[in-house]
Subunit: 287 residues, 2 copies
């Protein structure tokens, strides 16, 4: 039986710190504000928007919601981002993705002022995650995966960590952040020949593929820690589930994060911390 | 007995292409120019400067040499880089490193105009290597390691590649570039617990540690390709040598790059290609 690593306890510690930072900012007349930009009505965008607004509110920060129809043009989106970049009351910008294919998503992400890029989507943020120095933020999902480990007392130094999935928002960033903490990272993906051979020998396995319940017992071995960043709908139960086939994997490994209730809540709390930090930096206050 | 992969044949193919690009630029009145900035008199800086100048000359490009004493101040260095950034006749800037400790090396590297950053040292270049899109160049050493493989007919897709060393100029960049070609990369380094366990099971091993002759037979297995990016002085012979203990490793593996004569000449030809490409981009010419 594995230890079940829920997100809530680690999120709580992060939120307590954020609350203090916000309190001190408010005392100085600054209320941190996150702008959330949504195009269309995708249910998971709406769910993430909702939990972010709730968290902002709870921590004493402001939300600015922009919701556009899927028919919005590239030029109109560019104008919206420029306006948010220029708005001194906005400290962070979160552009919910994927955008409709009619829009050039990378061009829009690249436009975000790096100091307001609280979800790590601009080149300056990529460079910070990759190089380990600079003013950028890590993608919230990726930082949440690392915080789940460190928050549960894991010292990454020298640990063999295999990340499955090589997206910029998750897998690639998780491997880069793990390396910054002196882990030995491997990145597997759709073109890897024998993923199970890699995952079975790792001390830490991070799943970030979106292949819901696609990873069964054959990918794991005892003593492992499994961080499940995936979230999708189970074909078996119709409920939310992660990349791991939880029922068969959980009895086998040492620790595993559940879906939902694992990385999800932590991601929101990392986003909140970034908004508060961005507000500090923009005000020239150390926090 | 391994195949010995020398740098010269792959460099020749790259240089032929660069020569064509330069010819077409010169016909349009543009002679590409690389500025090489050296501080102090380190013998390996001088050697790299010399081979770069020779290569520039052979390919019809210009060199601009700046050599400063070790006593140069940060402000003077900043002025020098600003002048090169502003000089339209200069297409590429190569700042030889490491700089003396009296200087803030990262601050100076970050100052280089990204479009002139032909050795991949600025955040924009980091982001390009990491994310796979953008206008930056890869570090020449790292790109040379990948070109050595592809130039010898290796398709990286799905290949297990273990890189030993996690520097930004070599190991980390090589792993990132390999991932962009759909390899499965692992990065080992000074804090990795069992490097040999990783390297022995890889299909490709890249050594980029500077631990001269530090990798003997116990790190390798048959059928492997070994790319040796290290260069130092052998304690046994007093001659230049790589990270691999060539004598014991060469009989064991399928292919290996020698030191000297392996990655070295390729690095210079990649630098030359970058200078020509930078000149094209700055002139708005596709090449």
């Amino acid at each position: 039986m594995a230890e079940i690593w829920k997100g809530a306890p680690v999120a709580k510690a992060i939120n307590e710190r954020t609350e203090q930072v916000v309190k001190s900012l408010v005392e100085q007349g600054i209320q941190p504000c996150l702008a959330i930009v949504r195009v269309g009505e995708r249910p998971d965008d709406i769910a993430y928007e909702r939990s972010s607004v709730k968290a902002l509110d709870r921590l004493g920060m402001q939300a600015r919601l922009l919701a556009f129809p899927e028919t919005i043009s590239q030029a109109e989106m560019e104008d919206a981002i420029t306006a948010l970049n220029d708005d001194e009351a906005v400290n962070g910008i979160l552009l919910l993705r994927p955008l409709p294919r009619t829009l050039d998503q990378n061009a829009l992400l690249n436009m975000i002022n790096p100091v307001k890029d609280v979800d790590g989507v601009t080149p300056i943020s990529f460079a910070t995650v990759y190089a380990g120095y600079g003013e950028g933020f890590a993608p919230c999902d990726a930082e949440a995966a690392i915080k789940m480990l460190t928050g549960n007392g894991v010292n990454l130094k020298g640990k063999d960590i295999v990340v499955v999935g090589h997206s910029l928002v998750a897998g690639r960033a998780i491997a880069a952040l793990a390396l910054l903490q002196d882990a030995t990272p491997t990145i597997c993906h759709i073109n890897s020949v024998d993923v199970a051979a890699h995952t079975r020998t790792a001390e830490i396995v991070v799943l970030a593929t979106g292949n819901t319940e696609g990873f069964g017992a054959e990918f794991f071995s005892p003593e492992q820690m499994v961080i499940d960043v995936g979230i999708g709908v189970s074909k078996k139960t119709g409920l939310l589930a992660g990349d791991a086939d939880f029922e068969t994997v959980e009895p086998l490994v040492a620790a595993i994060t559940p879906v939902p209730g694992g990385i999800g809540p932590l991601t929101v709390s990392v986003l909140m911390a970034h908004v508060a930090q961005a507000a500090c930096r923009q005000a020239g206050i150390s926090c």
